[in-house]
Symmetry: C2
Subunit: 462 residues, 2 copies
Amino acid sequence: MNTARDFNPTVFAELKALLGERATTSTAIREHHGKDESYLPDAPPDAVVFPRSTEEVRDVVGICRRHRVPMIPYGAGTSLEGHVLAIRGGVCIDLSQMNQVLVVHEDDLDATVQAGVTREQLNEHIRHSGLFFPVDPGADATLGGMSATRASGTNAVRYGTMRENVLSLKVVLADGRIIQTAHRARKSAAGYDLTRLFVGSEGTLGIITEVTVRLYPMLEAMSAAVCAFDSVDGCTQTVIQTIQMGVPIARCDIVCEKTIDAINRYKKTSYRVAPTLFFEFHGSQASVIEQAETVQSIAKEHGGKDFVWATKPEERRQLWEARHQAYFACLQLRPGARAISTDVCVPISRLAECVRESVEDVKDFIVPVPLLGHVGDGNFHLVFLVDPAKPEETELAKQFNKRLVERALRMEGSCTGEHGIGVGKQDSLRREFGEDVIGVMRSIKRMFDPDNLMNPGKVVPE
Amino acid sequence: MNTARDFNPTVFAELKALLGERATTSTAIREHHGKDESYLPDAPPDAVVFPRSTEEVRDVVGICRRHRVPMIPYGAGTSLEGHVLAIRGGVCIDLSQMNQVLVVHEDDLDATVQAGVTREQLNEHIRHSGLFFPVDPGADATLGGMSATRASGTNAVRYGTMRENVLSLKVVLADGRIIQTAHRARKSAAGYDLTRLFVGSEGTLGIITEVTVRLYPMLEAMSAAVCAFDSVDGCTQTVIQTIQMGVPIARCDIVCEKTIDAINRYKKTSYRVAPTLFFEFHGSQASVIEQAETVQSIAKEHGGKDFVWATKPEERRQLWEARHQAYFACLQLRPGARAISTDVCVPISRLAECVRESVEDVKDFIVPVPLLGHVGDGNFHLVFLVDPAKPEETELAKQFNKRLVERALRMEGSCTGEHGIGVGKQDSLRREFGEDVIGVMRSIKRMFDPDNLMNPGKVVPE
């Protein structure tokens, strides 16, 4: 572990002169910023700074550049593949004090926020307007972090991921230039798509300081449904047909029987212990009724049982809360365990096959391995509950994960649907794309960051 | 004009050895490939080749690279800003013989095609499946060309542009590497978004040879409506409120009174001569009724008159044919004229203001300047009908266009919603983004194409 004493005192003096108490080498704060929600070993930065403006970020970048010190942007620390770990030491740039909603354009359905604004904060801020920001990765992540990792979540099937929902970014580049990647127009054919280049770049090409996102109208009616199936195949066939019929489902998640069992124990519910789909429908009153009826009849054709349909807000909330709490419910399957979550995404036609092989593959793991996923996108997670005191369990999970990635790639899928690459998936990225594409990504990295100071050691294998 | 005789005979001999009769310096073919639908002067290439595979494209690129000869990819030649003009001479790579639909995955709602497949060809190919490809720029462009220019059109308001609808691309890079930018999974958080970097790059970073696109279900019901308003403001307020209410309109176009007048003359229709909205609704039977009723009542609040609603396929077709023929109808306002189409995109809240100022600005032009646009996206076109024999008219139109771009930028818009940059809008691109962003784009260009051979002189000002 880097200690504060290793750190170039001139750098810290300059940061201190710039930010005063908002620059620190406190051990507690450094340690807090040296971990995320991954299984990877902690790696604290040498210092942590809390800028409040794009200009302050630029000045921090200037200091770090002059002294060749790595910079790691930090949002809410909820990433899952080691994105924020200071594996080469350096300065953690915590953007949480850049938490202003700068402007909301209700007529244009967009908002511009500082990078440290969280999605729940934004939704609270615009609640009165009848609009909402849909991307929901589970954690209350910052919009900057969500942009940087190309986050998505339960309702991407209807509203898209951060890729589709970021209109523009303000970014501080490694050389101190501040760029705005686009204007506010809904669409544009003007030049290279720099916005999409920074979405998903995980802080390796520049530091996102402002985000302009799309907003959506909160529709008149919402309803939810849950339905058990004999098999995962019944679930995926139901979803494929639902999408092919053009039913605009807002959410559509799958959990396996182990997850349902965990939910039943945790929430004292009594769902049938079987592969289960959770749905949410948004639309007019008439439309949500029609959507639910259509899905119910499709589900029935594919062996769906106990279709429960919740239209009252309280029932709907309870139903989706069961899904939202699934992760925590699973953690209770092995108290004290650390969760390692896998994350592959395959074409939906291959989902049942991929899940079947994967469930078979993990059946001998020391404890049950629950599965949950965003089935409309072909994205699912297996959650390994490992004893942190037994590194051989983590090793087993990593081996399973490696096979899972190979399986997904063989089925024309991706090694990550929404968690990103970080430190943990660089080998997977190489397997997914091959050396030529990795070479192109490496050239892009070098062009933006010739001294390799922007979150070094992340995304692109060196 | 370059003549065949200026062209390095070794290069042509090598192309000929590779492709036989599919490499030509025929004057007629070169001249045909030296023009697009823009107002810019013709610029024929020195030779034209017709590869049939990605490997042949790679070999053509290899020959051109060795001899430092520019390469210009060519699809259907329907671009509007000089994208395909061989302004530095070189070899035009016509992809129209790469016209195979390679695979359709009905369960996954995607298809992979060679770059020369046109959108109508793809839709014809998948007609039996109940699926369709929605992006519709008007012309029957190739999917490769549409990807390269980030095309959109009338139904982007619901289905998105090429940016949202390309899942993956196969690209031949300047150095001969062939890369696949992504797998077929619906979403991915794996590495830099190379797909989006090539979408809209206009052949300046590499040559797109295969395109994987999203498909959508053809919904049970479609209906259309048309409604006249006292003012453009009434139109935009109607659309803003329609979108805010979450009505999932599939198309929503505006035409001005001059355009309606042109349509009436051309199609012998009798629409009220006033700013007019055309709508299309897709959904279930019940949903399209509900959508149309909602829009009708919103339109009424904002001065909408003569709301006509067409549910029968024939009526619907006729109604939208009026809109689709608007461009040709306008051309009849001045027989023999050449059309120069502007193309800005602003936040929808500024659309009425931008249109009002622009209409005022063009009122003294020698002939009426009709307006049409994709109002749901804030994207509109003014069509200047100029006499090709009078260069001063083209000059006037260019001056108007310059002011129009300035106006759109002042309103946080973009200099192009869907036509792209090509040769014609490089100054506008610079005004839109400023030198720092242009510098970044230039670095990207240099990284991919250090010898400046890939469609040189396009997109990024040199």
